[in-house]
């Protein structure tokens, strides 16, 4: 899963990026509204964490611009004021969730997970595909109840495929959603990750759709 963090406070932005990366997300960072608006309009993120008080262009304007441009990426708003009037404004501008500063990092993580899960159409925090189960709350992957150890990149690939269960995901799409913007991408490594995943899971749930990409389906 690939996230965008738009936050002007350098310390908070660093904390957010480090923590979200540690949770297995590919994270891009923008320090002002202009850059944030550009990234949000051009890169395919799975969720955005957007601060309201931003230099150059304020967060609400960025959000309205995205929605006007047809960007449907789920957005969590961060703000220092946290009054109900501001929440109503934020939601009416197109936000999907809201968190007041100072916030608890665990709460932010829970909301990001839930938001991504909901927007991909999963009601339950556990996504299952045959014997393979991904617990979005903890990130744990089990096969028939037996835990499987995955590296960060393998986890990202599996998590994205699980969220898009039953749909064909192209290699390009996978690449775009598992690497941050400044990462040196190589779509050949995707095949390597998928190969290792198949070995580690031990069951045939990742299908190769020739010429199109991959699809997860129950074996």
């Amino acid at each position: 899963m690939r996230l965008l963090v738009v936050e002007d406070d350098a310390d908070l932005a660093r904390q957010l990026t480090e923590r979200l990366s540690a949770e297995g997300y590919a994270v891009d960072r923008a320090g002002d509204g202009e850059e944030g608006q550009f990234l949000g309009e051009t890169e395919p993120y799975d969720a955005v964490v957007l601060d309201l008080g931003l230099p150059k262009v304020d967060g609400l304007s960025v959000l309205r611009a995205w929605r006007a441009a047809g960007v449907a990426t789920p957005v969590i708003i961060l703000t220092a004021r946290g009054t109900w009037s501001e929440k109503v404004q934020g939601i009416d501008a197109g936000a999907d969730d809201y968190l007041a500063k100072p916030f608890n990092m665990e709460e932010l993580l829970a909301r990001v997970r839930a938001l991504i899960r909901r927007t991909k159409g999963h009601a339950s925090p556990e996504i299952a595909c045959g014997p393979v189960v991904l617990d979005t709350r903890t990130g744990r992957v089990t096969v028939d109840g037996r835990p499987v150890d995955l590296t960060a990149h393998e986890h990202r690939v599996l998590s994205y495929l699980m969220h898009r269960k039953g749909q064909v995901v192209s290699r390009t799409e996978l690449t775009e959603h598992i690497y941050a913007q400044d990462f040196d991408r190589d779509s050949n490594t995707i095949e390597v990750f998928v190969g290792r995943l198949r070995r580690k899971l031990g069951v045939d749930v990742i299908r190769t759709v020739r010429g199109l990409g991959y699809r997860m389906e129950e074996a």
Binding site: S85, K87, V88, I91, A95
Partner: protein, 455 residues
């Protein structure tokens, strides 16, 4: 410059004085000119009549004057007053004053008895006003038929112009002096009239330096309401500042207590205790945030109280909050229904209503199993009552007072309770309203918010 009251008053006065006097001057000089002209024409008419009377046909058939015209100027060469008898190109008789010139009368068919007037160049190149007519001399032995003949008298117009010029010089000079005197008077009047404002400015300076606390000098009745308003504003801001100081003190106390706990925890933090201490620290931070929210809401409500506002419609705000809460609680399957009649308006700020209603509705959503209903009705004595019902577990009667008191949280694991409800009560009471908790017909808790109505 144009923003100065003195300048505006003076400019206004000057414009009207100059305009009025200029109009008076134009009218007066016009009247005078008409009058002089009428006199001039009357005199010319007299001379023409005399000429007609004195003219007759002599024995040789030529017209002669039976006696000279009475005005001596007709005999003094180029005196400015002339007469002439006969056709324009070959007059038969002329006044001596014409000397060797003739009046170049225009070609003109003048009917018998009709008098015509012209302005033509006369002797010496100066313009003259000519009055002419045809008369018919009685037949005589020498000319048996009737003898129509053209007669004319003329007078130099420069005389006329000189009189008018002299009058106008005197007229404009005196009007100019009058304007100057009037403007000077306006200057004095404006200075005297604005003196109370100058005094007010001095008082304002005294107020700013702290020498005074209120405007207390006698002021004209026109600015008295303004001064009364200013005094009321001064009282209001004094009150607000006092309350703000108190609030800041309260907030500082609440934060410092928590900060000292945090500081102690941080000091004693070791890698081993981190796991157990971190949640406690996070809870402290949450508590501090709630304190800040609480005091912010109170401060805003207190500051806006007593200032006239346009009122806040309840339906629009409740609907906006419902939209927001549906998203924030998405995935929990809660149905939010807003059944507020349109037209109900709260006599207060929009942000305050949203803060109170938002906290109540959020609390209801946090506890509800599946339904939250917001309704409202007109209450007694100019109040409106907003009801927030949920189908959650409800709250025992003996705990209800406690959740409305600051700092109390019944359930640490479910967000939304605690200071949130205390804020609602504080803000409602600042507006002269209140909040009550009761059993809901839906099975859970009912919060009733009573607020002053706008109408």
């Amino acid at each position: 410059m144009t923003r100065s009251l003195r300048f505006r008053l003076l400019a206004g006065a000057a414009v009207w004085i100059v305009l009025a006097l200029a109009m008076a001057g134009v009218v007066l000089s016009g009247l005078f000119r008409d009058h002089v002209m009428a006199r001039f024409e009357a005199e010319l008419g007299n001379h023409l009549a005399q000429l007609a009377t004195l003219l007759e046909i002599a024995g040789d058939g030529k017209p002669v004057l039976t006696q000279p015209l009475s005005d001596p100027r007709f005999r003094r060469p180029l005196s400015g007053l002339y007469w002439q008898v006969g056709p324009a190109d070959a007059p038969v008789l002329r006044a001596r004053s014409l000397w060797d010139e003739i009046l170049q009368l225009p070609k003109d068919e003048v009917a018998d008895g009709e008098i015509h007037q012209h302005r033509i160049p006369g002797p010496g190149g100066r313009f003259v006003i000519v009055m002419e007519r045809m008369i018919t001399l009685p037949a005589s032995a020498a000319s048996p038929s009737a003898n129509p003949i053209r007669i004319a008298v003329a007078a130099d117009e420069s005389e006329l112009l000189a009189v008018v010029d002299a009058f106008e010089r005197v007229l404009w000079l005196s009007l100019g002096i009058l304007a100057a005197v009037l403007i000077a008077a306006a200057l004095v009047q404006v200075a005297v009239g604005l003196q109370p404002l100058t005094r007010l400015r001095d008082e304002l300076a005294a107020l700013r330096s702290g020498a005074k606390r209120r405007f207390d000098s006698a002021v004209p009745s026109e600015v008295a309401p303004l001064v009364a308003d200013l005094n009321a504003l001064l009282s209001h801001s004094e009150e607000v500042v006092g309350r703000a100081r108190l609030q800041a003190g309260n907030l500082a106390h609440a934060l410092k207590t928590n900060l000292s706990v945090l500081a102690n925890e941080a000091e004693a933090l070791t890698p081993e205790t981190a796991r157990t201490v971190a949640p406690a620290m996070a809870r402290r931070v949450t508590l501090m945030r709630r304190h800040i929210d609480h005091h912010m809401a109170r401060a805003r409500a207190a500051a806006s109280r007593g200032l006239p506002g346009s009122g806040t419609p309840v339906l629009e705000r409740a609907a906006g909050l419902a939209r927001t809460l549906e998203k924030l609680h998405a995935g929990r399957g809660i149905t939010l229904t807003v059944a507020v009649p349109p037209g109900l308006a709260f006599a207060g700020e929009r942000e305050d209503l949203e803060e109170m209603l938002g906290n109540l509705m959020d609390n209801a959503c946090a506890w509800a199993r599946g339904r939250v209903v917001v309704s409202a009705r007109r209450g007694v004595a100019g109040m409106i009552s907003v009801l927030v019902d949920d189908d959650g577990p409800g709250l025992p009667v003996d705990r209800r007072e406690a959740v409305l008191t600051a700092g109390v949280r019944l359930d640490e694991s479910t967000p939304g309770s605690g200071l949130g409800l205390a804020v609602v009560r504080d803000v409602a009471r600042l507006y002269g309203g209140d909040v009550r908790l009761a059993d809901s017909p839906l099975g859970g808790l009912r919060a009733e918010l009573m607020l002053p109505s706008q109408d």
